[in-house]
């Protein structure tokens, strides 16, 4: 699991590659910490390379979502696969995030 964060003007893009399972979530939680303090940014979670996500990963997404809301940032989830979309559906996350 690899998390890459890039800044592009007002946008901060976090690109996830690999499987975000419970084990990977620990590291990913660390990796995404920089996103938590961003203010008034557009945070884009690029899931084009994300193969899998479990509830731990979802919790990270939810955490980002909550922090962003607290810091006046916006979170957009991009390029989710059908599998992940299915998980989002099952968990109601589909309605929690703006998905592009």
């Amino acid at each position: 699991m690899k998390t890459t964060i890039t800044h592009n003007g007002n946008q901060v893009i976090a690109a996830f590659a690999g499987r975000l399972d419970t084990a990977a979530a620990v590291q990913t939680a660390e990796d995404v910490k920089p996103l938590m303090e961003l203010e008034h940014k557009e945070i884009i979670l690029d899931c084009s390379q994300l193969e899998y996500i479990s509830s731990s990963g979802l919790r990270i997404f939810l955490g980002i979502r909550k922090e962003a809301a607290a810091h006046g940032s916006k979170v957009i989830v991009r390029n989710i696969s059908a599998d992940i979309r299915q998980v989002f559906m099952m968990t109601g996350f589909i309605s929690l995030f703006e998905i592009q």
Partner: protein, 683 residues
């Protein structure tokens, strides 16, 4: 052992009796022949002796007559020359010239010729030198005192004196024949005496020596021995044949010692006896060897029987050595195997075997051609070969090739066997298999069944060099490989209809539970129903192997989670199922890891099974997650309310929610101090 002795004794006794009877018979023949010959020899000897005696008698009588004739002729001549005393010389000379080795004499009564003196005896002797005639009468040679003269005077015919040893000249036995000479007045005036040398009697041996070592005697009337015999030896038996000679009163005797008479017979008898003894020895030897051969035969028969039973036992032991404890690997939830050998009445040659080495399952099934002891022997050998060769070879083709070379090399009975070897990599599910003329196994995968595509190759034991080709297939989770021998497909019912491939496949199609034991019981039931009591003619052997990906053991460490994904991938689930199942299992497992072992190390076991829904017969996956932690029922855990906004959402509760979302049924049970969570996914 008891039996052996019981067998042995009468045989030895009968040999002894045969030998004894043969010996008695042969000896009886020998004795009968001997005594018959004995009599014949005796009779022949007697006849010959009599005949020879008569010849001798004739010879003696010839001489006697000759001498008597000579004596009488001389008496006649003397009578004519009584008036001319000197002419007597000529008369004696003439007579002696007609005789052999003799002398003749004419002795006158004293003073018959006064001119010639008191004594007058003209004697003519014939010797080799010629005839010598002289007057020998004198006071010193007073013939008048001699027996022959005195008897000659009184006996009116020839008188034979007793033979006497002539001390005057030749030192030979001499016999004299005397007869009177009468004058014209009938007065005895002289006595003629013809001496006969008994030298000639020696020549009678020609007749009387009937056997080289027999002898004869000639004795005079009063027992004087003219021709003596050696003294008899006491204890020696003699046969005596006698003849009396009337003319001389002599007594002829042929004496044949018993041993001489029967010498030839005894020699022949001895030869015959020796030959018979040899015959008996040979017969004895023959009987001995025959008995030994018999014994060998008996022994080998016994040995065969024993061997057969031993081989039966060996076969039974070998059968027992075939894996018979099912399920065989308690620690291998990934492999479930069941096997069955239902031997026919006669010892057969079916076998199966399997074992695990280096996380690979080596298995085989085979059917030796023919039945009985040789087949079971080959079967036993084959199993050993399989174990030995596969212990250092992992490639199915190489195992088969090496086994084939060995079996062919050791194949003295022209037996062959169909054989199938599989090597299943338990890590990957890749099955490497090589067939040697055996029935194609059936693969039941995802509820479908088909015969595994197999190259027939050729059976083992035919061509040592045959290039067997292996094949591979991927066994998926819960796939079942069903192996069998032709005892199944060629099971016959009472109308000699074969069970056949079609019935077998049809029966397999109705299998609902791929538990190997149940599959085999199902097939056994199917074939039993089919044959309906007809006698089983061949071994019925079946082997079912169900492969499940390894059950997954994980420590209570969330860093182990990625192994779950690998494991699930290995299950070969349909793509659309893979991710949700993974997710559900991950959530359930994570729950265990996080909550079942608070502050402790622990483990969690994940297993998967494929089955049909008992009610709907729909296929379904059953996952069980087992841990030994504190009682923890995740189904009781409060679910996340997904209708809440992000701000309202709790961090927890998503996991069990996902499990419920994904799985068809979630069941928890506390069993044997373990938490067992069963997740059922209908597919």
């Amino acid at each position: 052992m008891k039996n052996e002795n019981a067998h042995k004794a009468p045989r030895q006794r009968s040999s002894f009796w045969i030998l004894l009877v043969a010996a008695i018979l042969l000896e009886a023949i020998a004795f009968v022949q001997y005594f018959a010959s004995h009599e014949a020899v005796k009779r022949e000897a007697m006849q010959r002796a009599q005949s020879e005696l008569r010849k001798a008698e004739l010879e003696i009588e010839t001489h006697t007559i000759e001498m008597e004739t000579a004596a009488k002729m001389l008496a006649k001549l003397t009578q004519q020359y009584l008036d001319r005393p000197d002419s007597i010389y000529g008369a004696t000379k003439m007579v002696v010239s007609t005789l052999h080795n003799t002398s003749v004499a004419v002795a006158f009564i004293p003073n018959y010729f006064p001119k010639k003196g008191h004594y007058y005896e003209i004697c003519s002797t014939r010797s080799d030198d010629g005839i010598y005639t002289r007057q020998i009468g004198s006071a010193e040679h007073d013939y008048t005192q001699m027996e022959w003269f005195q008897n000659g005077l009184v006996i009116d015919s020839c008188w034979w004196c007793e033979p006497y040893l002539d001390d005057s000249g030749s030192q030979t036995w001499v016999v004299s024949c005397s007869c009177p000479v009468y004058d014209r007045n009938g007065q005895v005036v002289a006595v003629v005496c013809v001496d006969l040398s008994l030298d000639y009697l020696e020549q009678l041996s020609e007749y009387l020596q009937v056997f080289p070592k027999s002898y004869y005697t000639i004795s005079s009337g009063n027992g004087q021995l003219i021709v003596p015999a050696p003294d008899t030896i006491p204890g020696r038996k003699y046969y005596t044949f006698t003849e009396d000679i009337d003319a001389t009163g002599w007594h002829l005797e042929i004496i044949i010692p018993d041993d001489v008479l029967y010498a030839d017979l005894r020699r022949i008898g001895l030869i015959i006896t020796i030959m018979m003894l040899l015959g008996i020895i040979i017969l004895g030897a023959m009987l001995y060897f025959a008995a030994r051969t018999n014994k060998k035969l008996i022994l080998s028969t016994e040995k065969n029987e024993r061997m057969e039973s031993e081989l039966y036992i060996a076969s039974a032991i070998q059968m027992a050595m075939l894996p018979k404890v099912f399920p065989p690997f308690a620690d291998r939830p990934d492999l479930n195997i069941h096997g069955l050998v239902e031997p026919a009445k006669e010892v057969g040659g079916d076998l199966y075997d399997f074992y695990i080495r280096h996380d690979k399952l080596f298995f085989c099934i085979g059917d030796v051609s023919g039945k009985g002891v040789p087949a079971s022997l080959v079967m036993a050998m084959t199993r050993s070969l399989f174990r030995t060769i596969s212990s250092h070879e992992e490639k199915a083709a190489e195992i088969v090739k090496t086994m084939n070379a060995s079996v062919t090399e050791q194949n003295t009975q022209n037996m062959f066997l169909t054989f199938f070897v599989g090597v299943l990599d338990c890590q990957t599910g890749i099955l490497d298999y090589c067939n040697a003329g055996h029935n194609a196994p059936v693969l039941i995968a995802n509820g479908e069944h088909h015969m595994l595509p197999v190259l027939a190759n050729i059976p083992l034991g035919i061509d040592a060099e045959y290039p067997f080709v292996a094949q591979t297939t991927q066994m998926k989770h819960s796939d079942l490989l069903f192996l069998y021998t032709d005892g199944l497909t060629e099971a016959e019912n009472s109308t000699h209809t074969l069970f056949g491939d079609e019935r077998m496949m049809a029966s397999l199609a109705t299998v609902t539970d791929t538990c190997p034991r149940k599959v085999i019981e199902h097939m056994q039931g199917a074939v039993t129903t089919f044959v309906a009591g007809a006698e089983q003619s061949d071994d019925l052997t079946m082997l079912a192997i169900r492969y499940q990906y390894p059950a997954l053991y994980m420590r209570n460490d969330i860093q182990q989670i990625p192994t779950l994904a690998e494991w699930i991938e290995g299950l070969g689930l349909p793509d659309e199922l893979s991710m949700p199942v993974n997710l559900a299992l991950e959530e359930a497992v994570t729950n265990v890891m996080l909550y079942a072992y608070p502050g402790q190390h622990g483990s969690v076991l994940v297993e998967c099974a494929k089955s049909l829904d008992p009610a709907t017969r729909a296929p379904r996956l059953i996952f069980t997650i087992t841990d030994s932690g504190i009682p923890f029922d995740p189904t009781k855990k409060e679910e996340a309310d997904i209708s809440l906004s992000a701000e309202e959402r709790e961090i927890g509760g998503l996991g069990i929610h996902l499990v419920r979302q994904i799985m068809s049924e979630v069941l928890y049970e506390r069993k044997d101090d373990k938490n067992v969570l069963t997740l059922i996914k209908n597919i």
